[in-house]
């Protein structure tokens, strides 16, 4: 049994179907990437799992229990931390308070202190700016705060929504390096939504491609990386042909 199991999940914004029946699994300790273009339903998927949005149909099981009808705080308490798109740090709180907010359901003061240390270990840049207002931090630092905040809840699963969004290439590498380290250290599972397919597939164990609210391809990261459609549409790898440039795109087949 997988840690997280979605079965035929549908989600709507009013009359508009954003998820049209999504089935996917995240195993304990695994990183699972979800690739997709704008509007494919990636963010909706994460919001539906974390309880920010209620699915219209389908089931979501986490650690064996159905969670699709639970409120967001209840899902968080069950062990799912959501790092939303655009970080959403508490801008007027200090870095320290932001991180502590992540552990607000915890009662073990000693553990919280230890985890704070651990997070500063991952993100040394944050230690120096611990009293700073989070809103004054750079985008990369804010992303670190958001991930650190999620870790403070000691989750079994982290939902990561486009951690690379708006960051410089160097910072993206840094963030992904840390994501890999966190996984190796703590064994926390991650469901990673990304447009940066290369970074996502490098760190992920398996992945799904979401298009128009449907899963069109599923498999190991290796299988996805070698898929012709993923190469052309998500990795931007295409053979340039005899003219040295090629603007047209092949037809997607997803096989």
């Amino acid at each position: 049994m997988a840690l997280l199991e979605l079965r035929n999940v549908e989600a709507y914004y009013g009359p508009i179907a954003a998820l049209k029946g999504v089935t996917l699994d995240v195993n304990e300790g695994a990183i699972v990437a979800v690739l997709g273009a704008n509007g494919a339903g990636k963010t909706t998927l994460l919001k539906t799992i974390s309880g920010a949005l209620d699915p219209e149909a389908g089931t979501i099981r986490f650690a064996g229990a159905e969670i699709q009808k639970r409120a967001a705080w209840d899902v968080a308490a069950a062990g799912i931390a959501h790092v939303p798109e655009g970080r959403e740090v508490f801008r007027h709180l200090s870095v320290a308070d932001n991180l502590k907010m992540g552990g607000f359901l915890r009662r073990d003061a000693g553990g919280i202190a230890a985890d704070l240390e651990r997070i500063f270990g991952y993100f040394p840049a944050l230690r120096a700016r611990v009293r700073e207002m989070a809103g004054n931090l750079s985008g990369g630092e804010q992303q670190m705060v958001a991930i650190g905040r999620a870790l403070m809840a000691r989750p079994r699963l982290i939902l990561l929504d486009e951690p690379s969004l708006g960051l410089s290439p160097l910072l993206v590498q840094e963030i992904y390096r840390i994501i890999g380290r966190v996984k190796a250290d703590s064994g926390v599972a991650m469901l990673l939504v990304e447009q940066n397919a290369k970074m996502a597939l490098d760190v992920a164990d398996s992945g799904y491609v979401l298009e128009g609210g449907h899963i069109v391809l599923a498999g190991s990261a290796e299988r996805l990386r070698s898929n012709e459609d993923v190469k052309e549409f998500y990795l931007g790898i295409r053979d340039a042909g005899v003219r040295g440039v090629r603007r047209w795109k092949r037809r997607k087949q997803w096989r």
Binding site: N8, G58, H214, I215, V216, G241, V242, W248, W254
Partner: protein, 609 residues
């Protein structure tokens, strides 16, 4: 060959002359409609003729001589027709390539046909040519219709269509009589077009059709499907396919009407609704799809709507059965039918885009008679055409009002159809082709003693109507010695909204099995409604509940079949095949030989191998 009929004007003994005549007579009337940025744009007959003239003169200026070959590699777009008529007007031979062709296929056909010029739609098609041009030594010039993405590309062998038209325009101004002289020089016995048909064995064969072949076939269209200037048609099949070539390029030359171009192969159903053609020709795949569209729409309807539809459909079928049997329809039933039409049937036809349909044809492949019956019941005047490229696309037909379901009707007047000693359908007449290019031995196999051997097995009904049994090479002989015609069983399977296509297997085997391609849209919907988890297409085909669903559909068909004809096992194909795959024809039918070869392992597994 003298035409006894007045459908073809005097002196128009070639396609080129007929086109010139018709275009001049119709002048400012709309001939073609296509969409530009979402808005329908008309091309008049005068505009059509001008584009064709400039294309033809441009080619002549570049050195294309009569009886030489020029080829077209493009989707179904107006430029295809401009070029086709331009090439034929210049006295040259026009050959079409499927837009889904691979580089290798393009190379083969260009070389086999000896084409000196090749028209390509866009950058994508151009790349196919450039990657292989060293292997096409006789190809001199490539003309590109759509230069998007090629603005800064320059190559001595490549030019834009606009440049070619400018050459032609300049030539027309220099020598105003040049075009007429070229058209006048065309002769009925000259080659007009080459149509490549993919053989199940060996490379594609180029069927040669003369002007006389085509003009005869155009003439006979009038007795089969009388169309006129008020008609709207929709073009969507590849124009290099004989059926679409006749319907869209040739037929209007005698009968007029407005051809609407579908925006793309994916938007056919939307465009159909939008255009609502009065005359429409399509392949069975489309008729099956429209039928399942209604079936699936009903599943989403309220119970009341469903009950009303079922009641209306029952009345309509009762009426249709009487009509087909030639019996009178009692007044009570007629009144009910009028009600059904008002309440249900009219809207169903509107949903399908067939509310104005006057003449609806199916052909190019066998179709399920249950599907035909359903259209007849809806009150849609549907008929079937039988023919092949080698007889200019048409051999037999019946008129909708004949309700000759289960047959493909009677031969065209002035032609003969017989059943040979081997039960093979053989054809003789002015529509029979000239032979295969560069393949005298294949020609000799096809035309024996003056008769075109179709490769189809058939028989005549007592009324003199032809019934097709199957392709001779497809007939299954089980190890028990029973003869079985797979296409009949396959068509029954395709009646299901969940089955797009099927291949029945069982030659020299103990029992029959089938490979099934599911309808992605409808099966996905079923899976979602019934909470059957799946991720991608392959996992959908492997879901046990989906296998059960398809098996239930197979069982429904099995009930209508004799014991030996029953399907014992099925395998669902786990990839969604498209026209670009060799397993599929451009008219979206599975190719038996290719599929059998590719799925050998899966087939053997069904026989315990």
């Amino acid at each position: 060959m003298a035409l006894t009929d007045a459908r073809i004007p005097a002196g128009c003994d070639t396609v080129a002359k007929l086109f010139r005549h018709t275009a001049a007579a119709r002048g400012e009337r709309a001939a073609l409609m296509h969409k530009d940025y979402g808005v329908w744009q008309a091309t008049t007959w005068r505009g059509y003729a001008e584009q064709a003239r400039h294309t033809g003169l441009g080619l002549a200026a570049l050195g294309l001589r009569p009886r030489e070959v020029a080829a077209i590699l493009a989707e179904t777009i107006p430029e295809w027709l401009f070029t086709d008529m331009g090439i034929m007007g210049a006295g040259a031979v026009s050959v079409g390539l499927y837009p889904t062709s691979s580089r290798e296929q393009v190379e083969y056909i260009v070389n086999d046909s000896g084409a000196r010029f090749l028209f390509v739609e866009d950058e994508e098609q151009l790349d196919k040519v450039l990657e292989r041009r060293e292997r096409m030594p006789r190809l001199e010039r490539v003309v590109v219709y759509d230069m998007t993405g090629l603005k800064r590309f320059s190559d001595p062998q490549v030019m834009s269509y606009d440049e070619l038209l400018a050459l032609g325009r300049a030539a027309a101004e220099r020598a105003p009589g040049a075009w007429d002289a070229l058209v006048d020089a065309t002769r009925p016995e000259d080659r007009a077009i080459l149509v490549y048909t993919s053989g199940t064995t060996g490379p594609p064969k180029g069927a040669v059709l003369s002007h006389a072949n085509l003009v005869f076939a155009i003439d006979r269209w009038g007795e089969m499907a009388p169309t006129h200037d008020g008609d709207d048609t929709l073009a969507f099949l590849p124009l290099c396919h004989m059926a679409e070539r006749m319907m869209t390029a040739m037929r209007p030359l005698a009968y007029g009407g407005v051809v609407h171009f579908a925006e793309s192969p994916e938007t056919v159903l939307e465009n159909l609704r939008e255009v609502s053609p009065t005359v429409f020709f399509a392949v069975p795949r489309i008729w099956e799809k429209l039928h399942s569209l209604v079936t699936m729409t009903l599943q989403d309807a309220t119970p009341l709507q469903r009950a009303l539809y079922n009641r209306a459909s029952a009345v309509a079928h009762a009426v249709a059965d009487r009509r087909m049997a030639g019996k009178p329809v009692p007044f009570g039933l007629r009144a009910l039918y009028a009600l059904a039409e008002l309440a249900i049937l009219r809207n169903t036809k509107r949903l399908l885009g067939l509310s104005r349909a006057r003449l609806i044809g199916s052909g190019a492949a066998p179709i399920s008679q249950d599907i035909m019956r359903w259209y007849v019941a809806l009150g849609i005047p549907i008929f079937e055409i039988y023919g092949q490229t080698e007889c200019s696309g048409i051999a037999t037909f019946y008129r909708p009002e004949e309700f000759a379901l289960g047959t493909v009707g009677k031969p065209l007047s002035g032609t003969e159809v017989r059943i040979s000693a081997e039960q093979e359908i053989v054809i003789r007449g002015p529509h029979v082709f000239q032979g295969y290019l560069n393949k005298p031995e294949r020609t000799a196999e096809a035309i024996r003693d003056g008769w075109l051997h179709t490769g189809d097995v058939g028989a005549f009904t007592p009324e003199g109507r032809l019934k097709i049994v199957d392709r001779k090479s497809d007939i299954i002989i089980t190890s028990g010695g029973k003869n079985i015609t797979p296409s009949e069983i396959e068509n029954k399977l395709k009646f299901s909204p969940y089955v797009t296509d099927a291949i029945v297997i069982g030659d020299r085997r103990n029992y029959l099995t089938a490979l099934v391609m599911i309808d992605q849209e409808n099966v996905t919907k079923y899976a979602q409604t019934n909470r059957i988890p799946f991720t991608d297409y392959a996992s959908l085909t492997r879901a046990p509940a989906i296998k059960d669903l398809v098996w239930a559909e197979v069982e429904k068909v099995n009930k209508q079949l004799a014991n030996v004809e029953r399907i014992r096992k099925v395998h669902l194909l786990d990839i969604l095949l498209t026209a670009e795959d060799e397993e599929m024809t451009p008219t979206l039918k599975l190719r038996r030989k290719f599929v059998n070869e590719k799925y050998k392992k899966e087939i053997e597994a069904m026989y315990g191998g």
